[in-house]
Symmetry: C2
Subunit: 490 residues, 2 copies
């Protein structure tokens, strides 16, 4: 007789490119989102939460920086054949929401949004297919005061979440200046313009000489690979180089350099004018070059930016995976995008906003040891007699009512060592023990696990004897003694 084949067991695995977050990883992110929301709220932004799912029609067929339709998103067909997809950012849903509710929303509409977004991209180290974004946008204001405000708010936000002044820089540029430079160069070919933009984006990495090579014939990469150039002549490339090297410690000089680089371009002049206005507005409020600076090398890859663009960088150094020092880099970026709502309504609606990469920001704070220090496990009440569970539950109830995180050990109580191992794994500060003898005498044992661990590590036998880490106290002093050990005010 043939055996009935059992279905194989499913694999217990996080899907490829996704990850799980445990304990403080979750709560630290929640705390950061709350802090950011407070700053955004203070600036007059209102919360918006759209769902993770949008119609593909509303999202548009193109992910920014991705050429193929539907590439880069997770999409599926609804029961009536309509295509749905997970949102890949929080800006596309904002454009949809604004177009949908525009008659009811205030104008300008200032909103913030935070939540996961999904990208159907090849995962890599530290690169996941679901991650958090935290955005603030002003829709319906053409005034560059809106852009300046976003920059100021970004600076405030970074300081509020724990990045001190000096450890970050918000860098501001304007796409119109760049367009002016390209106009001056007489570049009409879109592919060539894009190639120039991509080259500018590499300035930080390859420097002036590298950019010259990449704009011309090409360049031998550090890895030994030859990177084809854009194919411009030396003269043609000159305005780009002038633009990229226009930054001076003297802001007025930077603007003079920019005016040279854009030549007679009208759009370029408009861009420089806007940048000056932003600089003035920020300077009046005390946001100087130690926090926000004009920097012509900021490009921001996304095709949809139409005016000011900004980027927040953390300027301190970390060690990369190969142990080499490098700057931590970008944690937020944004800019002005005047055409996103137009897709829906036919009318251009000016908008500007910023997106903070919350997970990168958290990584930076952990790297600097500014968060992640204090894990507080629960006080664990051990079970010496499984028939007296109600007594142990009463103890934890008393502790919780006194504001102390506490729990009864709920595993199999047979092996007492397992209970202490459990407390250790939970990073519990204290274990409470009440066996038959203690119960008969109206006493409980309170074990200071943190002190115990310290003593076990460092102390001599004498010290160990002198500094007991376990105390016997009357049952009715349980809460008081635990509070004392936890150093809580009475």
């Amino acid at each position: 007789m043939a055996k009935v084949k059992k279905a194989p067991r499913p694999k217990a695995q996080t899907p490829k490119g996704f990850r799980d977050y445990f304990g403080t990883e979750v709560t630290e992110r929640a705390d950061m989102l709350k802090t950011i929301a407070e700053v955004y709220h203070q600036y007059g932004f209102d919360a918006l939460e759209s769902s993770g799912v949008e119609t593909v029609e509303a999202l548009g067929k193109f992910l920014p920086d991705v050429d193929r339709p539907n590439e880069g998103v997770f999409a599926w067909q609804d029961e009536d054949d309509a295509w749905m997809a997970l949102r890949y950012d929080l800006t596309a849903p904002l454009a949809r929401v604004y177009a949908q509710y525009r008659n009811d929303l205030p104008l300008p509409y200032r909103r913030y949004a935070m939540g996961p977004v999904w990208r159907n991209e090849k995962p890599g180290p530290g690169r996941y297919r679901q991650f958090y974004q935290c955005d603030a946008d002003t829709v319906g204001s053409a005034n560059v005061a809106a852009d300046a405000e976003i920059c100021a708010m970004l600076s405030d936000t970074l300081e509020r979440v724990g990045i001190p002044r000096g450890d970050y820089l918000v860098r501001v540029n304007n796409r119109k200046v760049l367009n002016g430079v390209l106009e001056t160069m007489g570049l009409s070919d879109d592919a060539q313009r894009d190639a120039v933009l991509r080259t500018i984006d590499k300035f930080d990495k390859v420097g002036e000489a590298g950019v010259r090579e990449l704009l011309g014939k090409g360049r031998l990469d550090a890895s030994g690979a030859y990177i084809d150039g854009v194919g411009l002549s030396v003269d043609q490339a000159e305005p780009v180089v002038a633009f990229l090297t226009s930054k001076s410690s003297d802001v007025a000089k930077t603007f003079a350099n920019l005016r040279d680089a854009i030549g007679a371009s009208t759009i370029g002049a408009e861009g420089v004018g806007e940048l000056e206005k932003i600089g003035d507005l920020l300077a009046v409020q005390g946001y100087n070059a130690d926090r926000i600076e004009i920097d012509p090398s900021v490009v921001r890859g996304l095709g949809y930016y139409t005016g000011p663009v900004f980027e927040a960088e953390l300027t301190f150094e970390i060690l990369d995976e190969k142990g080499r020092k490098r700057q931590f880099g970008s944690v937020a970026g944004g800019g002005r995008y005047d055409d996103l709502v137009k897709r829906f309504t036919g009318q251009a609606v000016p908008a500007t906003g910023v997106s903070i990469g919350v997970d990168r920001l958290l990584a930076a704070l952990r790297e600097k040891g500014r968060i992640g220090g204090t894990v507080q496990g629960p006080v664990v009440v051990t079970v010496m007699d499984k028939d007296r569970m109600a007594d142990y539950q009463t103890m934890v109830a008393e502790l919780r009512n006194a504001g102390i995180r506490a729990e009864v050990y709920l595993g199999n109580p047979k092996n007492f060592g397992n209970q202490l191992k459990y407390a250790d794994k939970r990073e519990s500060p204290i274990a409470v023990i009440e066996g038959g003898d203690e119960h008969a005498n109206g006493m409980v044992q309170i074990k200071d696990l943190i002190l115990g661990a310290k003593i076990a590590e460092n102390a001599t036998l004498e010290e160990w004897k002198e500094r007991p880490s376990q105390y016997e106290v009357p049952r009715d002093q349980l809460v008081a003694k635990v509070r004392e050990i936890l150093d809580l005010n009475p």
Copy 2:
């Protein structure tokens, strides 16, 4: 010549069955989640956040209560043909996570999780395809103390988020008791057992007589439709009716009735024993029938529960869409499910947990007017002279530094009326006005919009003259005056 056809504009629409949340809808939920997390944390539960996406293999092919494979979930194929899906609850991902990390996680593993889940179901009024759940589970404990604790925590949580004692009830039952009843009845046919379970679930609605009819030949519905019955004889149906009507105000009597209903069933006796233990543990901690009660009519639809089941109901009445009074109903539920991890590992792992329907709970609090009262819009600094934007930005910076939510009007400032309409739409408490004259005199106008609205609504002309809602103060007293109007302590 043929005209080039333009692609039609995309529709700006929330996908069918999804919705957008604005302003306080978002922040009130965030506040509630934070409060719930605090209670869960206090009880020793640790946070876990898995991604919204799981492999279909890990989720299992069946949604609880749905018979067809892949029905009820949003699923799609990955680039390497693997099926992925959005999670439909937070329990299936917990089973996957526990199986995957079981060697590193503490045992028992107590975790809480909160976030959106997705159901590919027909949307209806108040029924969306994405909604929030907020779960706490203890994995790896067979002790019913774990179940009792979850019930106590649920009670604490409801009170902490603003449901006063008396307005809710946590009702507890045990599937084993029910299984004992079915065993006593000699029901071996699965379909018939399921039909009986579904009938029991209707007890609240149709009462004892209705259940008798539905267990027998059938019943004429209120709508006039005839509902087929299970087809049991009157004698066969008797244990079910005895079970359903076993609840007494005297708990001891309830248990006696239950023992009668289960007859000689071993599993039934085990269930009653567990229920008694849970009742005792809770009573010792003071959770009495005004908060948590034993109630045999609680079934909880999900097939996977294996022991204690619980449900939290709000007991106050609301008006339904037709204006009729009805109880608000269930806002949370859960129970013991010992087989979910077994799918992955082959080993049964006992687990118990609860899921709170956060959106329903919020709806209840709004219904009772306990949240949603205080919308505080920003102070709006109006723009009288667009060339003095820097001055206005300085004002809001001062206000924000004093802890006051504030913003400059960033729309087109030409029409001053629009600026006040904007402030109105934002529910701003105050508008600040500094025109050329005020500026020359070093003064600002401060308009109390809330008082203004009140006066406009109720006051006589005399009162209106006596109670000005607009004040002119020196520029350097802007912050002080705004604080005074907002009633903030100096």
